[in-house]
Structure formats: structure tokens, C-alpha cells
């Protein structure tokens, strides 16, 4: 196998000892170089983890190495650790121990490895240095470490965890209080992570919202893995919290902008489609008409056809006016919001269509007591009310006079406007997706133009609101605008 050959070459150049891990049964194959560095012959020692822990590894390193090794085997958690191994002469040699993710090149190896890089420095010196680097790294990356000991039933935090969570040094962390470290809506997630890690040894690496002693919420990355004892039982969890609030907040802001851009893009796309379709239908009529005029010989008939141009031109103008209005909405949303009283807008609208209201025998009931005014573009509010009211009158039920009920209300801190009628209703099964489309009409009315609701939706959305409706045929329709 070329792959293996390549790998072997690299391992040779690497000039380091390693273990190759195998499963079923769990065994480790120690490389020749591993024996060589320590001066052992294969027959001198027993090549398995238990012998290694008991006889070769420095007692100081046993607990941590055992954890790391079991986690690597069971959960594929890569690790790095400094360890001391005894050689044939009885002296300890220092190694930097690392796993697959340390491989120098991109070789997809099916097997798992543990590498042992020898370090020639004096052990004491390195460890001091390491401690310095550790503190430095912890502070610079705002990463706090913690450890929960299930046997002693105690929790330990390092200095950085205290700092991140804003607790004073004399605070004693405990499992009982642990729910308080997380924002309420994330407590279940935190509990699940810990439970799974403690019971079945699943390590976790997740983003979670935490709470400091001063009740400040922030986003953190929480990583944890189980700790095993000699009998491979889970006796604790060790992990880190990293303060990622700044990154996460940026991510959330970014996501919000992406959503807004996507919504705008889809409106633009829709608009481009409308423009192309609605303008094309006039130009194609025009072109057909011209062909016909050229084709016809009789001057009188020709003259008649020229009159048709007028009709097409009027239609084209209307379409362009409609498109203009839509473009205006899209660009107008920078216009300033001013406080508008609902009753003022309604009065204006009612005065404007008083003729239609009295002709249609319509009754308008309004109740704005829950929410009297709103910051909005006054012209939009009038246009929204106008469209919804005229629709209600146009599509009144043939057997009864229209009653239109308009009210405002607050729900969960959000502001709503509701316009309901007792009209003929819309078949929601058939028209659900088409109601707010341009030039879609659902009734056999001569003056159904099919632009009103499209405009209303555009106005509401350009002000970052939503509009929805509920309707039943023969019962009536209720439109709800969420501001």
C-alpha cells in the first residue's frame, strides 16, 4: 500500500517513538524507535498500557496520562502532555506526548497513534516555563479551567475561571450551585452535557450562555471530558470555559444582517420578476398590434387599430405607476418615523372614502384604547388602513352589510393592529400563497386590481413588520399587522 509506505517513510524521518493503537482487543504496538530511545529490548518489557503505567511512567504523570489515554481511545479526544519515562539506566527521560492531530502531514491514517517526542531540556526548567506559558495563554485567550471531583464531591476553578465568572477568590464553587453559572434558558443544555459526560463518558464542546456573579450574561465555549481512575471508571470531569462573548455577539449581529439582506434580496428578485412580466405583457401586445396594423390593408380598419394603442399606452402607464409606488416604498424606508395616532389616521381614511362607506352601508368600529399611537410613517399607516378597509367593503358578503372592526393591542411587548370584517372571506386552502402577490385577485369583481395587498405587505415589511391573515369563506377575514 502506497499510503502505508508513505506513512512509514514519514515516521522514519520523524525519528520518534510511537504507539500504534489497535482495537478488539485493545492493544498497542510499540515502535522500534520507542524501545531504542529508552534503551530497552522488546523482551525486557511488556508492551501494554497497564505495564507502562505501573512500571515505566513517572508516578506523578500516571493519573493525567491515564485519563488522556482512555479519552483518546474511547472518545477520540486528541491530547498533548509532558511525561517522564524511566529508561534502562533508571533515569527519567522527558517526553512531549501527542496524538494523531500532531501528524506533520496530511495523511489519512486509519489507525490511531501516540507519539513520544524526546525533550533534552532539564525537566524542572521546562515545567516552570510551561506554567508561565499556561497562565499567559489562559489570560490572553480568556480561558478558565475547572475540575469536578466526583469522589471528593468538590469543584476546583483556576484563577482565570474566577476572573471570567466574576467571583471573588474566597468563593467555593460547588456542583449544587452549578445551575447558577448558566443563563436560565441554557440550564437544561448544561445539565445534559454534564450528565452525559459523567454517566457515559461523552465529552462535550459547545457554545452556551453563562452568568457571572454580577448577573452579567455572556457567551462561552464550554469544553469538558471525563476523568478515569485505574479501573477505568469515571471519577470526575475536567474542562475549560472560554469567554467568546465578543465573537458570538458579532456572529449574531452578522446573522441578523444576513437575514435582512436575504429578505431584501428576495423582495428585489420578486420585484424584478414582476417588472419583467408586467411590462412584457404590454410590450408584447404592442408588438402584436403593430404586426396587425402592417398586415391590414383597409385604411379604416387600420385607423381603428391605431386607437388600440391608446388602450395599451394607458395600461402601460398604470403598470409603471404601480411599479413606481413599489420602488418608492423600497427607498422610502429611510424616511423618518413620527408619532401617529391611530384615530387620526383612521379619521383621515374614513373622510377620504366616506362615499364608498355610505354606499356600501358599511359600519366601522374602532378601539385604540390599548395602543393609541405608534412611531410610523403616517402615509403608510393611512395606506394600510385604506387598503384593508376598502378591501373589506369591496368583498362584502352579498347577504349582509359590512361591519369592520379595527383595534390595536399589545402582546408580549409587541404592537399589533387588527382589521377584521364579516365579508365573504378568502379560501385559504386555495389562495394561501397568493394573497399578497401582485395582480392576484380571488373574486369576480370588476374593480379588483390586485395591487392593494401587495403594496400593504411591502409597506409593512419595509418598516420591519409582518402582516398575516386568517379567513373563512362566508365568515370573514382578519388581517393582523405586527409592527
Amino acid at each position: 500500500m502506497l499510503q502505508n509506505e508513505l506513512f512509514d517513510n514519514i515516521m522514519r524521518d520523524f525519528n520518534t517513538g510511537y504507539w500504534e493503537l489497535h482495537n478488539d482487543p485493545d492493544t498497542e504496538i510499540w515502535s522500534d524507535r520507542f524501545y531504542e530511545i529508552l534503551g530497552y529490548h522488546k523482551k525486557d518489557v511488556q508492551s501494554d498500557i497497564d505495564y507502562f503505567l505501573a512500571h515505566l511512567l513517572h508516578p506523578e504523570d500516571v493519573d493525567v496520562f491515564r485519563d488522556n489515554f482512555i479519552n483518546y481511545r474511547k472518545n477520540a479526544v486528541n491530547f498533548k502532555q509532558h511525561i517522564k519515562i524511566i529508561n534502562t539506566k533508571g533515569d527519567y527521560q522527558l517526553f512531549r506526548c501527542a496524538t494523531n492531530d500532531e501528524l506533520p502531514v496530511n495523511i489519512k491514517s486509519g489507525a490511531n497513534y501516540v507519539f513520544f517526542f524526546e525533550i533534552k531540556l532539564e525537566p524542572d526548567q521546562t515545567i516552570k516555563k510551561d506554567n508561565f506559558y499556561y497562565k499567559e495563554t489562559a489570560q490572553m485567550t480568556a480561558t478558565g479551567s475547572w475540575y469536578v471531583d466526583f469522589q471528593k464531591k468538590e469543584s476546583y476553578w483556576d484563577f482565570e475561571t474566577y476572573r471570567i465568572l466574576e467571583y471573588s477568590d474566597d468563593y467555593r464553587p460547588s456542583l449544587k450551585d452549578s445551575a447558577n453559572y448558566y443563563a436560565e434558558e441554557f440550564r437544561q443544555q448544561a445539565a445534559d452535557c454534564f450528565f452525559n459526560c459523567a454517566m457515559i463518558g461523552t465529552p462535550f464542546n459547545t457554545e452556551i450562555k453563562m452568568v457571572t456573579a454580577n448577573k452579567r450574561e455572556f457567551w462561552a465555549r464550554a469544553i469538558g471530558k471525563p476523568i478515569y481512575n485505574e479501573n477505568k471508571e469515571i471519577v470526575g470531569i475536567r474542562g475549560v470555559f472560554q469567554d467568546i462573548d465578543e465573537i458570538k455577539s458579532k456572529e449574531i449581529r452578522l446573522q441578523k444582517s444576513v437575514d435582512i439582506i436575504a429578505a431584501q434580496n428576495s423582495r428585489l428578485f420578486n420585484f424584478a420578476h414582476i417588472v419583467s412580466h408586467n411590462l412584457r405583457s404590454h410590450t408584447s401586445n404592442l408588438s402584436l398590434l403593430v404586426q396587425l396594423i402592417e398586415d391590414i390593408k383597409d385604411p379604416k380598419e387600420k385607423e381603428e387599430l391605431v386607437n388600440e394603442i391608446k388602450t395599451i399606452s394607458t395600461n402601460l402607464n398604470t403598470t409603471i405607476e404601480h411599479l413606481n409606488e413599489i420602488v418608492t416604498i423600497q427607498t422610502n424606508n429611510k424616511q423618518k418615523r413620527t408619532p401617529v395616532k391611530f384615530i387620526d389616521s383612521l379619521t383621515l381614511v374614513i373622510n377620504g372614502i366616506s362615499h364608498m362607506i355610505s354606499n356600501g352601508n358599511a359600519e366601522i368600529r374602532s378601539d385604540f384604547s390599548a395602543l393609541k399611537e405608534i412611531e410610523y410613517i403616517p402615509a403608510y399607516l393611512e395606506s394600510i388602513l385604506l387598503n384593508l378597509i376598502t378591501n373589506a367593503i369591496k368583498y362584502k358578503h352579498p347577504d349582509r352589510d359590512p361591519i369592520i372592526t379595527i383595534k390595536t393591542y399589545l402582546k408580549d411587548g409587541n404592537k399589533f393592529l387588527e382589521v377584521s370584517d364579516n365579508g365573504r372571506g378568502i379560501d385559504m386552502e386555495l389562495f394561501k400563497d397568493k394573497i399578497f402577490g401582485m395582480y392576484k385577485t380571488f373574486h369576480y369583481n370588476e374593480d379588483a386590481v390586485g395591487i392593494g395587498l401587495f403594496m400593504t405587505k411591502n409597506q409593512v415589511e419595509s418598516m420591519e413588520g409582518t402582516i398575516s391573515l386568517e379567513s373563512q369563506v362566508d365568515q370573514g377575514t382578519t388581517f393582523t399587522v405586527a409592527f
Binding site: H273, S276, H277, R280, S281, T283, S284, N285, L286, S287, L288, L289, Q291, L292, D295, I296, L305, E308, T311, I312, N315, Y439, K440, T441, F442, H443, Y444, A448, G450
Partner: protein, 135 residues
């Protein structure tokens, strides 16, 4: 008469377009009768009625179907029409005639069996003549 089309049918909500087609058919004597429906629902109602009354002579040989229409659009009409199409003894040739140049519409239309072709408005008068000759 032989192959000559007697009755044609337009399903389209654009009055201007329908009037122009009427005129073309009149001046060119393309067929004897033109049925016009302003949306899919009216057209469907007609075809369903014809089935129960069995007056075959009323059935058009060719249909020009628009896509964007109020109340019932071309797609919906098509879905319903395909179900009853085989109950007519005459073969009815159906063209989609739309001003939509959206490739998705074109692909969708051409994938439907029973749609002879997708014609994009404006149609040439000569194209109309060819269709009436060969249909």
C-alpha cells in the same frame, strides 16, 4: 375542410391581447369560432359541463393557455384539465402562451405531457397561421 381547425380557445385575462388575437383570427380566417375565458376556473367549468352534455362539436381543437391569471391560474387549470382530457373524443392540442420568460416556467411547462409547446408573447402573426395549419 379536413384538418382545418374549427374552434379555438383562449384562456387569458388580458383583454387587449384577446381582442388582438380575435382580430387576427377574423382577418386571416383562421377558424370559425373562438372561445374566450378570462381565467382557468371559467374554462374548467365549461369543459366539465361539456363532458356531461356530450356535445362534441363544441369542443375546441386547440387551446391557448395563459399562466398568470386571477382566480385560477394556468398551472391549476392544466392540472385539472389533464385529468379530464381523455374523456373527449377529439384530440385537443394545448399551447401555453405566456409573457413569462422565466426559464423555470418554460422547463416546468415542457415537462408536462399534454403541453404541445411553450410560446412566449408576443407571438408573430405568421406563427399563429402555422399553428392553425398544422394543428
Amino acid at each position: 375542410m379536413g384538418d382545418k381547425i374549427e374552434i379555438a380557445c383562449i384562456i387569458d385575462d388580458d383583454n387587449v391581447y384577446v381582442n388582438l388575437v380575435k382580430r387576427i383570427i377574423e382577418t386571416k380566417h383562421l377558424c370559425k369560432k373562438l372561445l374566450v375565458f378570462e381565467n382557468g376556473k371559467n374554462a374548467l367549468r365549461f369543459f366539465e359541463k361539456v363532458i356531461t352534455n356530450i356535445k362534441e362539436e363544441k369542443v375546441p381543437e386547440v387551446i391557448f393557455l395563459d399562466l398568470n391569471m386571477p382566480v385560477m391560474d394556468g398551472w391549476e387549470f392544466l392540472a385539472n384539465f389533464i385529468k379530464i382530457k381523455n374523456k373527449f373524443e377529439k384530440t385537443i392540442t394545448l399551447y401555453i402562451v405566456s409573457s413569462s420568460i422565466n426559464p423555470l416556467d418554460v422547463r416546468k411547462a415542457k415537462s408536462i405531457k399534454g403541453v404541445k409547446d411553450y410560446l412566449i408573447k408576443p407571438i408573430n402573426i405568421s406563427d399563429f397561421e402555422t399553428i392553425f395549419e398544422k394543428a
